[in-house]
Symmetry: C2
Subunit: 255 residues, 2 copies
Amino acid sequence: MGTTQLETVPEPKYVHLKTVISEALDSDFAVGEILPNERDLAARFGVARATLRQALEQLELEGRLQRRRGVGTTVAPPRMGVDVSTPRHGWPGAGQDAWQPVGCTTAPPPCSVARLLDADDGEEAHTVRRLRLSQGQPVAAELLYVPLASVPAAPAVVDVPSGPARARSVLRELQRLTLEGQDRAVELGSARADDAKELDRLPGAPVLVVTTRYFSGGRTAAVSVATYRADTCRLTFGDFGDLEISHHGQRRQAS
Amino acid sequence: MGTTQLETVPEPKYVHLKTVISEALDSDFAVGEILPNERDLAARFGVARATLRQALEQLELEGRLQRRRGVGTTVAPPRMGVDVSTPRHGWPGAGQDAWQPVGCTTAPPPCSVARLLDADDGEEAHTVRRLRLSQGQPVAAELLYVPLASVPAAPAVVDVPSGPARARSVLRELQRLTLEGQDRAVELGSARADDAKELDRLPGAPVLVVTTRYFSGGRTAAVSVATYRADTCRLTFGDFGDLEISHHGQRRQAS
DNA sequence: CAGTGGTCTAGACCACGTT
DNA sequence: ACGTGGTCTAGACCACTGA
């Protein structure tokens, strides 16, 4: 028969809420504007607060909302494009690369990183902590692992306390090597407690994890694990960054 | 004094649960093994089911667990590396690129895409739907937008019904153009209903959205929006793919 | 201090896949 | 039919921010 199969599955409430709120955001709210609080909104829509929160959570995941405890829920600005394209043969820390060294310790890396470094169990590495700022906001926290073997001169700096100065000296040593190539992977993760604090987010917040391997002398000379805020960042490869993209869009009207 | 400031903030229960379960996964479970059901687990840990679910959700987000309604919760295999590096001057659909054309319609694109295409309001575009398989599983769903102006010969195919044949004919026309460059961005999103269905996930599931612009003749000749399952995929750029990476790792023991 | 979002509970019912 | 995860409710208390 010609009867169109009407949705046998009733849409979950929170999905419907999401669409309704999403449309309201497009038409009735400006960036930065604060929404009514969750209890009011839930009452207004006639649902439990938990249900409303499920909708808000997804909208926050999509970068449309920003929620801060003690403050409220605000309309998020469009995600900023953050360039992660590979600079031609550049070591981390070379030139001005928007990363700011924070500190440096020396310890055995997590086993997932050790595997990438072809390192033996318990082998120590310099661990440089850096923070990336964009438009005045922290957007990424990085741990850069440099095996002791990669930077023979660096043991001299072990005495230096674990501050930015020591981080810079390890980066300096790294730049003396010839960089033969690099490698990159992106995946979804959730922020560890320390990263979350630096990124001004709660632990468990969704992040984009960018893992980079740096090759030198036929081996993996360093590994970087950079944790980008997924709510505020769009990672760009190439000259994509200056375009304002939003995936909120409804279909355009022909009329 | 020497007293280390002990955490004044008691860790939320679900965070603690996450660590406990995570460690149990490392030591006591094999990939594919099914966990006890949520009600049992909640009882075992002495928490409400909602709290347990909060922990499981994050573990699923990190790709450690896989949950299927009506079936149960299983230990997920490590994420597969999916190569998204830019092939040297290759149009989509050229050679064997792991993408399988599904269908093709012609309609005005969403306004976010129209902006990338520099298209006017209501201007129509061929919309090719493709599916990417990896290791027998669907990992990504793509919508490829090709403005009518980009493929002058294609209007002839509008009569063809909106199936794979029509998709292939649009891709063929595209390959007659010279590709001058491309552009790429990655961001977090949540699966729209149609993508979710093709990827065998629920609507709202976290996905990695890869937006690609294809340049030809000094303009943006096509835009692709590819939606990758964030739970099962790690996007790789370069020859990263064959390495088995996992971010589950505890610190290696020196002893 | 008052108001916000974050966590947590103990229930209930539903949609789905398997048997 | 049964057991699974998915949705939803109506409460409660906590942690944080700002005035």
